[in-house]
Assembly symmetry: C2
Homo-oligomer: 424 residues x 2
């Protein structure tokens, strides 16, 4: 952590040409082979046998006297590269190798292989950093097989969460604790280390999973934080009536009333004219849901996101005002069912990532993350930031997920330079 | 058919005091015992054993030298009261005794018992009409167990429909043909008569199943016709996207777009300022329907009703204009999936019903029927009209369905007078 803001030490700049794009892509495509589908997608859910094989393959991929592999009780796997002062807490990068039931080939796998390529670039450059470096493969980020998501990184940040996580079951009734046994067996070459170790700094590379960078023709996103999220359920109550016999004046039409609320909430969001505000009505469930019956009940959801708590608070008040003023003939209620505060990243680490992006010579921008990432929990523990590369068409969690190869390689270079600046 | 418009012959007026309200109510409540539920509702679907028991009970209820019971190949049951000239086609009344899976105690059962009480009132008055009179119990009006609804009356109006109907199956795979066997066995005392006999005139009494009469404080609705119905399916196509990562400008939000269409179609309907126009969006189905995903597909339905074909035509054009101008970013398509033309009733029979209502001394109004009835098919065959009585709260197809006793009795008197005027 010897770097002044807005500058990048020469050693970090000099590391970038050592990033080997062809080698990086071979490793990235190699990992995609584990769980590969014929449609180009990848099915590699957490703690499945195919994910265990991928862990074993990664452990065989990078080795040498300077390296050691480690695992913790939450199933997080780490590649450690020794520093000059190994008593210092590591500078860390990484992400996750688990996917959604049908995911893309990049997602978290990008940040993991970008980390491994950074290690190999340091080898090629003959550099020994002052701080030890670690690449983390956080367990079960997706949360599709076992809930919650970001299980490994959140247990790392707060080990008191682990007990509950170990009892989480998948659809077949298998617990995390049971599934971890075969994972540990696949990783028996790794040394067991405690959860909750101190970390000097954390930088995670990830695909954007959205359309912002592509639309702006920017190769790198310097991620300044993860926006806060609140979820709401709105229930609109009308009265069932015959579509043929009931005049408009006698109706309490929950569907019509709810449609007006959806439009009103969206119009309110547009009036903010704030590009960072995200408001989504994604569920809309009608009872009775019959062609010739006036609906008597609608439940719809609102997903609200913004990087600033004040804006979340203000928009929640707007939602309550809009919904609660609905009144006659169809009263509506709103309930907040989820609340996750915004996670701002560390100003100094953001500056270092931005300086690395500037020196990499490709166009970049600062941006917030719309999605959750393991970095959200690491930010509770140590100075943190992220590097984004564009997603073609903004598509993710989909077999069609992809990123231009040159963008992937640019992202590895920026990550490598930032880690060098932090660890030297 | 000897009656001039706007007048009622003295014999018809004189019949009304012979309607016995207490006897009528006993019969109405007796029929409600077949399939009675503890919540006050009735479960008596078509051709079930409980409906067969009700048929048998009705056949034992009314008998005498002037009466004969008849059945046809579509399962319609008739009580015939001899006239002075039995070669003439009958003047007919009736309705249906089947219910929705959970129905109310009145619905079609009202028109059947009102018809039986008319016969008994004629007996008490010592009247023999010129035309034979028949009370029809049309088979399977509801269409909940076997599709389509109004099966018996539509086969009566056009016997070529019967072959297809006999092959219709319920949820257990039982065909109408199979279910009719036990019904015929329950009705073996009835004589089999052909389908498609000529009918002199048809008047059906029914509860309104809507709120119009109650709101107007009118006891009798003189029904001038059954409105036409068109059903549409609207499909709105967007694109799935992450609620957290996708700015508004990059979204193709099918849910928001469909909600706007629902509001637009309703606003268009309101601009007609036509109390007879009924427009209902009752289904609204969202894919993916996930709280944190922008929806990529919505299907919603439009139920459009009006007594005039020209208005149906004009509003359909409005729907097409609104939906098809939706365009970018969420194109929408509209498909008409059902089209039933308006059924105007016969002016002379309407006049007779109105004259009977005037002479009954209770407040009345002319009105259209918002719902389908067996009378819709009888109108294809002979001069037809209907008599409505109020529904408390406009509620029907529900255990809470009810009508004030005095209103029920008033309706029987109007029906009796109208039938007398037509049959004398």
């Amino acid at each position: 952590m010897n770097t002044a803001p807005h500058s990048l030490p020469p050693q970090a700049i000099e590391l970038m040409p050592h990033v080997n794009g062809a080698r990086y892509l071979r490793m990235q495509r190699g990992l995609a082979g584990f769980g590969a589908r014929t449609d180009g997608g990848v099915s590699r859910e957490a703690l499945t046998s195919v994910e265990n094989e991928a862990r074993r393959w990664l452990m065989e991929l990078v080795h040498g006297a300077q390296y050691s592999w480690r695992v913790d009780a939450a199933g997080n796997l780490f590649l450690r590269r020794a520093g000059r002062d190994n008593a210092l807490p590591p500078v860390m990068t990484g992400s996750h190798i688990d996917t959604q039931p049908v995911g893309g080939w990049l997602d978290g796998a990008y940040g993991v292989i970008a980390g491994l390529e950074t290690m190999l670039a340091l080898d090629d450059a003959g550099v020994q950093t002052r701080y030890p470096l670690e690449v983390a493969m956080w367990n079960n980020e997706e949360g599709s097989r076992f809930k919650p998501g970001a299980m490994g990184s959140s247990a790392f940040a707060d080990p008191s969460r682990l007990d509950e996580y170990l009892r989480s079951t998948d659809a077949d009734g298998t617990t995390v604790q049971q599934a971890l046994r075969s994972a540990f067996s696949a990783m028996q070459a790794a040394e067991m280390v405690p959860l909750g170790r101190p970390v000097t700094a954390y930088v995670e590379a990830h695909i954007e999973q959205g359309p912002v960078l592509e639309a702006a023709n920017h190769t790198i996103g310097v991620v300044t934080g993860i926006q806060g999220v609140r979820w709401f359920e709105v229930v609109v109550t009308g009265s069932s009536a015959h579509a043929g016999t009931t005049p408009f004046a006698n109706r309490q039409d929950a569907l019509l009333s709810a449609a007006r609320l959806v439009v009103a909430v969206h119009s309110c969001a547009e009036q903010y004219a704030d590009e960072r505000l995200r408001v989504t009505m994604g569920r809309f469930e009608v009872a009775a849901g019959s062609v010739n019956t006036v609906a008597d009940n609608v439940l719809f959801t609102i997903d609200l996101r913004h990087p600033e708590s004040e804006v979340l608070e203000k928009f929640e008040a707007d939602i309550r005002r809009i919904v609660e003023s609905n009144g006659s003939p169809c009263p509506a209620t709103v309930t907040r069912v989820m609340d996750r505060a915004p996670t701002p990243f560390d100003a100094r680490v953001i500056d270092i990532v931005e300086a690395a992006a500037r020196h990499s010579g490709v166009p970049f921008q600062r941006m917030g993350s719309g999605a959750f990432h393991d970095a959200m929990y690491l930010a509770d523990l140590c100075p943190t930031a992220m590097v984004f590369v564009p997603s073609i068409g903004g598509i993710s969690h989909n077999a069609a997920e992809d990123t231009e190869e040159e963008h992937l390689v640019s992202g590895v270079k920026v990550l490598a330079a930032a880690l060098m600046a932090l660890a030297m």
